[in-house]
Each structure stands twice: as structure tokens, then as C-alpha cells.
């Protein structure tokens, strides 16, 4: 084997070694712990709490809040989305119905799907409906 090829071989071997060490470290990082689970749950619940506050506040121009028609987010049926929303005339996601309510009975401005406020509201709605099986499409 030529000197050049041998050097390349050694270089590649070292590189592979380094990569496998890096991969080895990331496999260790993927072993999340009970403490991680609790931390991530707290993070989620803090967003749920934020959504709870928003759900019970005036999101539009007329002082009306979501909970006036939906105490404890009841009658929102998040487990049924996406579904054919007959009044809109097409299949929609939950956030679109939330926006419909904000625009119409609450006389406010719609939010983007990934707006942190929308994410918080959706988190609260889903949390209050925990345990109910998915039933997408159900009217």
C-alpha cells in the first residue's frame, strides 16, 4: 500500500473512531431519566396553566371569554379533530375552530397555529379532556 493510501486509512480510522464516540455519547443522552420526565411534564403544565388563564380572559374586543360558554373547556370536543366542520364546509383542525370563536362570539383577531398563546389554549383544552379516546371526524 502506498504511503498516501496508508495515511488516508489512518485518518479515516481516527475519524470513524471519533464519530462512533460521538454517537456513543448521543445514545447516552437519549436515555432520559425520571427527573427528565418530571421536568418536561412541569414544562407542559406551565403552558396548560397559561392556557387556563387565557381561556378565562377576554381574548377579543367585547369582554367575552371562552369559559362563558365552555366551563372547564367542556363542549369543545378536542378528540374529534380534525373533522368535517359542517358550518365551515371543510375538514378543519381544532385551532381553526378556536380562531372562529375568537373572531365571532369574542370579536377578536385570529392567531397563527404556532402562536404561543394558541399553543397554550390548545394545551389547556386537551388537558381538560385527558383520557377521552381519539375520535377524529366525529360530529
Amino acid at each position: 500500500m502506498s504511503k498516501k493510501k496508508r495515511l488516508w486509512g489512518i485518518f479515516l480510522a481516527v475519524l470513524m473512531g471519533a464519530i462512533s464516540m460521538a454517537v456513543g455519547f448521543s445514545i447516552q443522552a437519549g436515555e432520559f431519566t425520571q427527573a427528565d420526565l418530571e421536568r418536561w411534564d412541569r414544562e407542559f403544565m406551565s403552558v396548560v396553566t397559561e392556557g387556563d388563564k387565557l381561556f378565562h380572559s377576554a381574548l377579543g374586543k367585547n369582554q367575552v371569554s371562552c369559559d362563558q360558554c365552555h366551563p372547564n373547556a367542556a363542549n369543545t370536543h378536542p378528540e374529534t379533530y380534525p373533522k368535517f366542520q359542517q358550518q365551515i364546509g371543510r375538514v378543519v383542525n381544532l385551532f381553526e375552530m378556536v380562531n372562529w370563536c375568537i373572531e365571532n362570539p369574542l370579536e377578536g383577531e385570529p392567531m397563527l397555529a404556532d402562536d404561543p398563546k394558541m399553543v397554550a389554549i390548545l394545551s389547556y383544552i386537551h388537558h381538560e379532556r385527558r383520557g377521552v379516546p381519539l375520535a377524529p371526524g366525529k360530529h
Partner: protein, 357 residues
């Protein structure tokens, strides 16, 4: 003499019977306790007039009350009187109560008022009593004894907590799903008053009680609840025909507990979900209730409405007026001894919109 044979016999028989009647029966027939008559009265409830700012109010709730008043004025023949079932205002403000009264002033007929928590908790009923109505009282009409209760009181130590402002107390009571709320009750003073009030009433006289809270224990998290319900029911137990009509729940509900028929009235403002829709907690809504149709939010008056109530031999028939929905009638069945929906009571007659989940 043109009197026919039948009329002659009638008069003679009456005369003979009159001579033989024991004194007590004569008193019942001709005395203060006149026999109960059949008549109709209207019932509008839960208007929740809500101020946005200044003279601007939430148009949606205004329209609910305006429509109910307009439709109620069309009833023919005219009902004997109207009830307003409580929650005229949303946050108990003078502006809201005044705006509500302005709309109610178009109603053609005498109106009796029941207090709701949304009317009461800002100033503990001060403006209500000065301008609208006493908080609890009774009256007699065509042989029926009517009682109006203030059934949205609560524990004194909650009412007199160190609130930053009266509006904080009002907001706490206004929020239906408030985890730091306090249960409704009639309270000892009113129980004592009710006991005394009922003492003079004959056991055969039909009694109709108007209340904002249900005088039952249905679902505590949303205050579909009266803490001293059993005590109120016990005071009414000796009477043959008792009906309790209540607001607050914004949906069709009905029940029979012993001798008492219970009926909820519709809200003009907006519907509440049925307690079964909150899956995290159990509820005690009577299985007798055939629910109203599920609300379609795209029609803003859907699952709202008002009602007129027929009294038939001292029993009630609720005639629910439901905008753009088939009207419903829930009437006392003498055969089954309980209220029943005239169309949908049997399970096989139910329709898909009545399925709530």
C-alpha cells in the same frame, strides 16, 4: 220561565248538596282558599346583559333578551304574568341592570323578578332591592301559592372575605368553573321565613317555587347545586302538588323527587354544556332529562330560548320556545307521577342532536 230542565236540576241539586256539606268543604269552596285554576304565565331568564364600555353592551346577549321579549308579547291569549328568572346582568353593574330593565320594559304585562348570583354579588343586592324587587317573597294567584326564593346566597365567611374590591367577589362568583367558588344556598333566615310562610297554606293548595339555583345537588363544580336543598324540600314535603322552577343552568333539565317536580328554564343569552361533557368529574343530573339539542355556535341563538308555563290542575307544563329548533314541551304526567317530554321521553324517540358527550 225560560230555564231549561237541565239548569233547573243543576240548581236544585246544588241547593240540596249545599245543605248537606260539612262546614270545612264550604270554606274551601267559597273562602280564602279558592280552588286552583288553570292559567299560563311566561318565563324569561338568564339574560346576562354585559357591558363592554360606556353605553356599549355585548350585542349577542342583548339580542337574546330583545328577541324573547318580542316573542313573549305575541302570546295569545296574554299570559297572566311574567317571571324573570335571574341573572339580568352579567357583573351586577347598575349600567347592566338598567340596560336589561330597559329591554324588559317592553314586555306587556306584570313581571315578578327572581335574583341571580350575577345580579347580587357586586353590591350584595342593594341596587336590585332598591330598583327591581325584594330578594324573596310570596304571592297567591288563582288558587296557587307562589314563592320566590333568593337561592344564590353562600357562606358568610366567603362573602365577607378580604376582597380587594367588590368586583373581585363578583368575578369570583361569575366564573362558573371557579375552583375557589362557594356553593349556593337559601340560608337559615330564609328557611325560617319559608316555614312560616307555608304554615298558612292548605296542604291541597298547589305550590310553585321560583328559584335561581336548582334546589337539588346536580353538579357542584358549576354550582348546579343548592347546599341546603334537602331542607327546602323537607319544608315542601307536606304539600300534594309542588313544582320548583329554576334558572342558572341554561339548559333543559327536569326531575321528580318525592312530591316535587323540578324544571329548569332556558337562558336567553347562551347555553351551558351538560355536566356529562366535563369528563373529569361525575355528576348527578337526573336520567329523566331528555337534553336539549347540542348548540351550533354558528347560529348565535341556538340552544337559547324562553318558555311559557301552563298550569293544569296545579301541575306545570313547560313549553320551551327554542329559536330555529323544534319547540319542546315537558309536562307532568299524572299517569307516571313525574314530568315527561311529550315527544322524546321514550328512548327510541330520541334524535342525534340530543346526544351530548
Amino acid at each position: 220561565m225560560t230555564m231549561n230542565r237541565r239548569a233547573f236540576l243543576k240548581t236544585t241539586a246544588a241547593g240540596l248538596i249545599g245543605a248537606a256539606l260539612p262546614l270545612r268543604l264550604v270554606k274551601v269552596a267559597f273562602g280564602a282558599d279558592s280552588p286552583a285554576q288553570d292559567f299560563t304565565f311566561g318565563y324569561i331568564s338568564d339574560a346576562h346583559i354585559q357591558q363592554i364600555k360606556g353605553t356599549k353592551f355585548v350585542r349577542n346577549w342583548d339580542m337574546g333578551l330583545i328577541r324573547a321579549v318580542r316573542e313573549a308579547n305575541l302570546l295569545t291569549p296574554k299570559p297572566d304574568f311574567f317571571m324573570f328568572g335571574g341573572d339580568l346582568a352579567q357583573l351586577g353593574k347598575k349600567e347592566e341592570l338598567d340596560h336589561g330593565l330597559e329591554i324588559m320594559s317592553n314586555l306587556r304585562g306584570k313581571v315578578y323578578y327572581v335574583t341571580g348570583e350575577h345580579d347580587y354579588y357586586l353590591d350584595l343586592g342593594e341596587y336590585w332591592q332598591s330598583k327591581i324587587s325584594p330578594l324573596y317573597y310570596s304571592f297567591d294567584h288563582k288558587g296557587i301559592h307562589f314563592v320566590v326564593l333568593n337561592s344564590i346566597l353562600t357562606y358568610d365567611n366567603w362573602i365577607h372575605k378580604k376582597w380587594d374590591a367588590p368586583m373581585d367577589r363578583m368575578l369570583a362568583m361569575a366564573r362558573l368553573d371557579n375552583p375557589d367558588g362557594s356553593p349556593f344556598m337559601v340560608g337559615d333566615d330564609q328557611l325560617a321565613w319559608l316555614k312560616k310562610d307555608l304554615e298558612k297554606i292548605d296542604r291541597a293548595t298547589p305550590v310553585v317555587v321560583f328559584s335561581h339555583s336548582p334546589i337539588q345537588k346536580i353538579f357542584k363544580p358549576w354550582n348546579f347545586w343548592t347546599e341546603d336543598a334537602e331542607q327546602v324540600q323537607a319544608l315542601l314535603k307536606p304539600f300534594e302538588k309542588v313544582t320548583i322552577i329554576y334558572g342558572h343552568v341554561h339548559q333543559i333539565q327536569y326531575n321528580q323527587i318525592g312530591n316535587i317536580s323540578f324544571h329548569a328554564v332556558m337562558a336567553t343569552a347562551w347555553p351551558w354544556p351538560y355536566p356529562e361533557s366535563y369528563t373529569q368529574l361525575p355528576n348527578c343530573l337526573s336520567k329523566l332529562t331528555v337534553p336539549m339539542n347540542r348548540a351550533d355556535p354558528f347560529f348565535e341563538r341556538d340552544a337559547t330560548g324562553w318558555q311559557y308555563i301552563d298550569l293544569d290542575k296545579g301541575r306545570t307544563a313547560m313549553r320551551y320556545q327554542l329559536p330555529d329548533n323544534t319547540n319542546r314541551t315537558v309536562a307532568y304526567s299524572t299517569q307516571d307521577g313525574r314530568p315527561e317530554d311529550l315527544t322524546y321521553q321514550e328512548y327510541r324517540n330520541r334524535i342525534p342532536p340530543q346526544r351530548h358527550y
